[in-house]
Symmetry: C2
């Protein structure tokens, strides 16, 4: 699928068919993620791949009971390795670059999933401490996105967008 088509076709999918996503497909998504750009090529990302039902259930609970998370055959939790970024770039690395770099990696996953006909959702609303406990995530590594992935069982319409003349500024703000 063409880049721009995938960008426009991507939706947040919160309902999944009872169909597996094979491991090769997950590897393709991670491969896409790791080609994201990162400040100083530090690659401050870690990916936790979850298929275990009990863990998905506890993860959904940690994500304010967004139960569709546990309906997905596979869930990728993206973590920002704050340590790697702070070694390179101090506070700006730990609070900005590693968030941006992992977000670019997350967007690569979503676009690649779209191109493969899969559905996914970028879940950001969760209790970080709870997710940390469920997944044994050590200090210095921060969970930043939960991505349930499966075959879509819904076709949401595109959400509205702010008009260009509101978001575009010329030469100065």
């Amino acid at each position: 699928m063409e880049v721009f088509e995938a960008i426009k076709k991507r939706r947040s999918i919160r309902a999944f068919k009872n169909m597996d996503v094979p491991e090769e497909t997950v590897e393709k998504l991670i491969e896409a993620a790791r080609w994201a750009p990162s400040a100083g090529n530090i690659q401050p990302w870690e990916f936790i791949i979850i298929r275990n039902k009990e863990i998905k259930h506890r993860l959904a609970a940690a994500a304010l009971n967004q139960t569709f998370i546990e309906d997905a055959p596979v869930v990728i939790v993206v973590c920002a390795n704050e340590l790697r970024s702070s070694y390179g770039y101090g506070t700006r690395g730990a609070t900005l670059y590693c968030i941006q770099d992992t977000a670019a990696a997350t967007q690569n996953i979503l676009l690649t999933a779209t191109a493969l006909g899969l559905g996914a959702c970028w879940v950001g609303a969760f209790n970080e401490e709870q997710v940390r406990k469920v997944l044994n995530i050590p200090n210095g590594i921060r969970p930043v996105a939960i991505i349930p992935i499966g075959h879509p069982a819904e076709k949401p319409a595109p959400r509205p967008r702010r008009p260009l003349n509101e978001i575009v500024h010329y030469e100065t703000f």
Copy 2:
């Protein structure tokens, strides 16, 4: 260009030909940016499009003298609208979601530029206060990325990537 091909072909381009990038192309890049996902569809992004030589020069100075910025025919400065995200989601919105959402939009710009045969670079190293002054950016709006865009005058090799077995974790960290 296919999504995955663009993801793999994208490079940080820091040398540009003396050739313009037409306004329709810039609009296409912004169009790609605004189809990025955002928490609660809040779309906390603002884009400043800069072609003025003097402003590009001052911007390069604010970006620790990365002079290649002023060699690009067009520069897009991506800003996070912290106010929009904090109305919706408080501190988590202002410090996490609006950074992630604008990073996803930035990645869309980079991938679309790659698909169009253009070169671009995600510049994160700059003095925010100086950039704010140069571009008259008000409080509550934060410059998060400077993207010089032009026709590439270099073909950098791919940078190395951390191996999969270092970045992938199964079930728990």
